[in-house]
Symmetry: C2
Subunit: 193 residues, 2 copies
DNA sequence: AGCCGTTTTTGACAAATGTCAAAAATTACC
DNA sequence: GGTAATTTTTGACATTTGTCAAAAACGGCT
């Protein structure tokens, strides 16, 4: 059960229906990976050569600012992908890292697998296109919203959209994601009671 | 010359090399479109059913906030695409509109054309995937950066990245893009002299 | 239960940005 | 070339958010 890769296959299948053969082909190659709290899915400077479909846990994508401070670009939780698309596609070193905020489990597809799937699994390419577009559009939407909203609204929207994050992630990380000072976020939270 | 569609074809060809036949196939179908200053590429509530490759001019993508105020999500200038990908892919009504800030010219590919190209032009699908990913990643990158920077830095980066925008676009629009009050932006600009 | 390290809250104050309205500058148009 | 309309700048002030440091609360561990 712990190395069950079907959730990922089911997910792809729900986007673009696949043949039994295609699914079996993928099933025999995919594998699962566990990360302990605080471990990295990949690091700055290394090339991201795999995509993880997260089935348990939360990760955060972290970018380093020029002044050395860290910024949480976004969170990844169940049903979403752990990958640095930029590095994955280009083969260039990653400019970000991903840290498991809780113990995580993901179904892993390496770059080599993906290349094989593209030619051997009908519908795979199309599913990837659709999912990539969908994921990136969602991120743009969220970032755009955050831009027009003030800090309390940003916090409330995160709470609505992703209540489990608030429970599982320390305040200092959330504040970095919301672009608000930690003390300010603490006060905002106080207001909302 | 004014209805020359080759810039778009050359652009695709530079991403994924195409056959002579493929290029001729597209060339005979694509057409150009001109927009006067203030005209819309598409409107809120309508479905976006075409992609425009902008060869001249600047457009802005505008989102309406709940309070009725407008927010400039981003600018589109020469060499970039005028499209609401969300509406284009889903067929659902658009939640944004695009306004020509200057007279614009673009090479247009309709959704119907795109569907035909997918099956008749080798490499087309792959080029589209690559370009989509590239464009969306760029937008995420810009938005993320804007999030960690303060207002003067945001202005300076826009100036670096896109000096022509500053010349061609009124201050009030830029301020909406930068997420800064217009008066504040005016003062920032004063500082930087 | 009690200790230690970490996280969160709080206070006092500083800095940045927003708001509103009027003046100045610029642009468009007859 | 002059006038109206639009855009930008400026002033005075309010509000929001940041900073820093200390206190309080929390969590893990033995």
């Amino acid at each position: 059960m712990s190395d069950n890769v079907t959730p990922f296959i089911d997910f792809l299948d729900s986007v673009v229906p696949m043949t039994k053969e295609g699914k079996a082909f993928m099933k025999s190659r995919l594998f699962t990976l566990s990360l302990g709290k605080g471990e990295y899915a990949y690091e700055i400077g290394s090339v991201c050569h795999r995509i993880g479909f997260v089935t348990d846990g939360v990760l955060r994508v972290v970018q380093l600012n020029e002044d050395g401070s860290e910024y949480t670009k976004y969170f990844i939780n169940e049903g979403h992908f752990s990958v640095d698309l930029e590095s994955f596609s280009s083969g260039l070193p990653s400019q970000e890292y991903q840290e498991a905020l809780t113990p995580c489990r993901m179904i892993v597809m390496t770059k080599e697998m993906a290349e094989v799937f593209h030619t051997h699994v009908e519908g795979f390419s199309r599913a990837v296109s659709i999912l990539t577009e969908r994921a990136l559009l969602e991120k743009i939407k969220i970032k755009s919203e955050m831009f027009t909203d003030d800090a309390p609204t940003r916090y409330e929207k995160l709470l609505e959209r992703n209540p489990s994050i608030i429970q599982r992630v320390p305040l200092q990380v959330i504040s970095s994601y919301l672009g608000v000072n930690q003390a300010t976020l603490s006060r905002i939270r106080k207001q909302l009671r």
